[in-house]
């Protein structure tokens, strides 16, 4: 009986353990899966002809693609778009009063110039010319009045003198004939459109044109509205295009709620109704999938350069190359600071420190630091690494730097001397000889360069965001993680290793370096992996110290901030109004960050397993 109960409990426990693992995995998949899936949309998507134009024409940023193919595509899409533009143009002729009035004014001015030319050529007399000018002026005033009137009757009243004008032959051969054409055209408009509604149509038409501009970009020959890159191209992605088409077809309007006190509700109405059926031809073309496709020619695109390309401000176009470089630079530099300091501290705490008040205080500090919110570190970095340290360095660096340079040069000379001496002291194989010679030369070159750089260029620390400050701040953040995991790893090295090493006559330092540290390395690497991921993903510590939203690819760690993946995602979400138009980039940034951390982790795990396999002798 009791055995049976125990069996059931045992099974139950196993089940709970298994279930929790499954739950964890599921949670991970549920959280990361959609992120990665949607982020992949930034890399694999249906790109329109605009995307290919962008990639071809923006030589400085992208400059790739087959010129002839893209031009052919551009031709065919432009042809497909022509009909839509034609309908819109015809409709807007009657609607857009300002442009019509401008045209009339322009026409009158041209006519005057033409007449003056004719007089000089002796074709007409001065008097005739004067007469024609007066007549044209009257025609112009009538047309303008017709354009400006808001009732159909009034407009017709104003058009009538022009349409019934007796002496049309006077203007034969001159530009003045156009007056009568314009009048005819406008009469057609007046016959079909209620001029009362013209203002409303004009507003609606502006909206339609706006969306059309976003869809197709500037028309052939039209100047972009602004020199911004996003004004030069239409929708580059098919999903973007279909979204815009939906906005084109359906109009959002606000209606009062059911009761006077309830909030207004948003309703969608078909936009073709707004134009009272006068633009049905246009909407038919746009709603038809086939013709719409022909206007953009979407094609499945694998944009792997996403991980390499620079982007326009706000990530409207382009990739995340600078972000990846910045993130890696900052993480690696963080590790360069945090790992040596952390491991040495851990070694001290385990191997040397006695249980004194001071050591207990240090332990307390380490444990407390591990729990401090990251924004606190960010503010600390701002005050310390950007506010205080540059001042101190400016004061101390001028004399410390030459000393450091000399020390580096001396150390390199020493290393070279030692290695060179070993070359002659012991008989070695040719391979070892070559290895040492190259090693020697390498160290000499590197150290020489560093020493030279230190001696000649004064290093100044910038007081605004720079990579060095960000990495230092992050290393303070991850230091407790490194210290604690390294401490555990060093502590868990069997005492017998140490005894064996001591028993063979090794001293404390050598025992640590040759026995304890290699044995603890897998554990130390675990901490390094954790802190590397943390450093790559943190936003708050670099918020003030290293990250910028817009800027060039970093080329110095001392000056100028860098874009990073985590800060980019944050900034896009918080500050950029364009973010809603490019959600794929938001997810793309996040996905890249996840992938980067994943790749770093996998690499570190592989290294760790290699190390521990080597230790265990598998």
């Amino acid at each position: 009986m009791r055995l049976a109960v125990r069996g059931i409990l045992d099974k139950g426990f196993t089940f709970i353990a298994g279930a929790s693992i499954v739950l964890m995995t599921a949670a991970l998949v549920i959280i990361l899966g959609p992120m990665i899936w949607r982020g992949l949309g930034a890399v694999v998507f249906r790109g329109t002809v605009e995307f290919r134009k962008l990639q071809l024409h923006e030589k400085r940023m992208f400059g790739r693609g087959d010129q002839q193919a893209v031009e052919a595509e551009s031709e065919s899409t432009n042809r497909a778009r022509q009909e839509a533009y034609r309908i819109i143009d015809r409709f807007s002729r009657g609607i857009d009063v300002n442009s019509l009035e401008a045209e009339v004014r322009h026409l009158y001015r041209e006519l005057k110039r033409q007449l003056v030319n004719r007089v000089e050529a002796g074709q007409v007399s001065e008097q005739q010319q004067q007469h024609l000018r007066d007549e044209a002026y009257i025609l112009r005033k009538h047309l303008e009045a017709a354009y400006g009137s808001s009732s159909n009757e009034e407009a017709l009243e104003n058009l009538r003198p022009i349409l019934n004008y007796q002496h049309r032959e006077q203007f034969r051969g001159t530009i003045g004939e156009r007056f009568f054409q314009l009048a005819e055209e406008y009469k057609a408009v007046v016959d079909t459109v209620k001029l009362k509604d013209r203002g409303r149509y004009a507003d609606e038409l502006t909206e339609v044109k706006e969306i059309l501009y976003k869809l197709f970009g500037p028309r052939p020959g039209e100047e972009p509205r602004a020199p911004l890159m996003q004004e030069r191209y239409g929708a580059t992605r098919w999903d973007q295009a279909t979204k815009l088409r939906y906005r084109l077809i359906m109009k959002n309007t606000w209606r009062p709620g059911p009761t006077p006190s309830s909030p207004r509700v948003q309703v969608e109405t078909p936009r073709r109704a707004v134009f009272d059926g006068r633009l049905d031809g246009f909407f038919d073309i746009m709603e038809n999938d086939e013709t719409f496709r022909a206007m953009l020619e979407p094609r499945l695109t694998f944009y792997w350069q996403y991980f390499k390309d620079d982007s326009t401000p706000g990530h409207y176009f382009g990739g995340v190359g600078p972000e990846i470089i910045g993130t890696m630079l900052i993480s690696i530099m963080t590790m360069l600071f945090a790992v040596p300091v952390g491991v040495i501290t851990a070694a001290y705490l385990v191997e040397c420190a006695k249980d004194t008040v001071f050591v207990r205080f240090i332990r307390l500090c380490v444990n407390t630091l591990a729990g401090v919110p990251s924004i606190v570190f960010g503010l600390f970095g701002l005050a310390f690494f950007l506010g205080w340290m540059p001042d101190v360095w400016a004061y101390v660096g001028s004399w410390l730097q030459p000393i450091l340079g000399v020390i580096i040069l001396a150390v390199s000379a020493g290393i070279i001397a030692v290695v060179a001496a070993s070359l002659f002291r012991e008989s070695q194989g040719a391979q070892a000889f070559v290895v040492r010679i190259t090693g020697c030369a390498g160290i000499a070159a590197l150290d020489g360069y560093l020493g030279y750089a230190f001696l000649t260029n004064p290093i100044t620390m910038a007081k605004d965001a720079n990579i060095l400050a960000g990495a230092l701040t992050l290393s303070v953040l991850v230091l407790p993680i490194v210290i604690r995991s390294s401490e555990e790893a060093i502590r868990s090295v069997p005492r017998s290793y140490k005894e064996a090493s001591m028993g063979l006559g090794a001293g404390g330092l050598r025992t640590f370096l040759q026995v304890t540290f290699p044995a603890a390395l897998p554990g130390i690497l675990t901490g390094v992996i954790l802190s590397l991921s943390r450093a790559a993903g943190e936003t708050a510590p670099i918020l003030f110290t290293a990250a910028v939203a817009v800027g060039p690819v970093p080329n110095s760690i001392f000056k100028g901030g860098t874009r990073t993946l985590s800060y980019g995602a944050y900034d896009l979400a918080m500050n950029d109004r364009l973010a809603s138009e490019v959600p794929h980039n938001q997810y793309g940034l996040t996905m890249t960050l996840i992938l980067l951390v994943l790749i770093l982790n996998i690499a570190a795990i592989l290294i760790r397993s290699r190390v521990s396999r080597k230790l265990r002798g598998g």
Binding site: S496, K498, L504, G617
Partner: protein, 294 residues
């Protein structure tokens, strides 16, 4: 043997050349290193000698007032019930007790006539003189080769050829060469327990010690592995002075020339093994070896 001699001299020279300015006076260095210079020291000469030696852990005495002499090129066994101080005494000989923070020694404990608890002693030289094999096999998580080469490398021997020579000789001496000669690059942790222990012996031999301390070297091994280690001890006797702590009385009787019986930190009896096991002079010894206590 001539080769051997040369290598020994060479590496002792290297060892002291490697550490200039050690706080050991010339004569002492001579005394410690002297053994290595005269590997043919006559058997039967006292090499380890303690006079009124006590070792305390804080206030508690681990061993007290030990007077005993151990002789070169012989096997001395130390037996006794648990907690009698036999390991403490053994570890005192190469000062491994220093790892215990509260340990403190009194009296005189000499190796080759030099008090190892002298303040001016060079611990590195001492521990290379007096090698140690531990209760549990504890090879480093390195390759077999690197394990054996660890000691010579400490002494500043880095030449590949010489290291190869030393590694082979030590592995042969420790009777494990035949089993591992093809896989010297393999991790030592992949070996079996008995092989690991023999590797540890080889590692201890690689520093060319004159004394080999063994702290219950077979307690973690099966009977076959134990038998091999015992055979090995018999072989090593011709070159090394061996002190072995064991709580297996049969083992002590099998391998040792002399046996010391410790009880509660005191040396109760110390005599020829044959005599101690057949005709002990102390009542306590007789009670212990006949199994009345312990």
């Amino acid at each position: 043997m001539a080769d051997d001699m040369e290598y020994t001299k060479e590496h002792v020279k290297n060892a002291s050349a490697d550490r200039p300015g050690v706080n050991i006076s010339g004569t002492q260095a001579q005394a410690i290193a002297g053994e290595a210079d005269q590997p043919a020291a006559p058997a039967g000469e006292a090499i380890i000698e303690s006079r009124d030696f006590s070792l305390f852990y804080g206030d508690k005495a681990g061993v007290k007032n030990i007077d005993m002499k151990m002789y070169a090129r012989s096997v001395t066994a130390i037996i006794g019930p648990s907690g009698c101080g036999k390991s403490t005494y053994l570890r005192s000989i190469n000062r491994m007790n220093d790892l215990v923070p509260a340990a403190r020694a009194e009296g005189w404990l000499g190796v080759n006539g030099t008090n190892v608890y002298d303040k001016r002693i060079n611990l590195v030289n001492l521990r290379q003189q007096v090698g140690m094999v531990f209760q549990k096999p504890n090879p480093f998580p390195k390759s077999i080769y690197d394990n054996v080469a660890f000691g010579p490398r400490l002494q500043g021997i880095h030449s590949r050829g010489r290291l190869d020579e030393i590694v082979e000789k030590c592995l042969r001496d420790a009777a494990i060469w035949g089993e591992v000669k093809d896989e010297l690059k393999k991790s030592a942790l992949a070996l079996s327990g008995g092989q690991q222990q023999r590797l540890c012996i080889a590692r201890a031999l690689a520093t060319r010690p004159s004394v080999l301390l063994m702290d219950e070297p077979c307690s973690a091994l099966d009977p076959i592995a134990t038998g091999r280690i015992e055979d090995l001890i018999g072989e090593l006797k011709s070159e090394y002075t061996i002190v072995i702590v064991t709580h297996n009385m049969q083992q002590a009787a099998r391998v040792s020339d002399r046996t010391a019986f410790f009880c509660l930190g005191d040396l109760v009896e110390y005599d020829q093994t044959k005599k101690l096991f057949t005709n002990p002079s102390q009542k306590q010894t007789e009670d212990y070896i006949t199994g009345r206590f312990g």
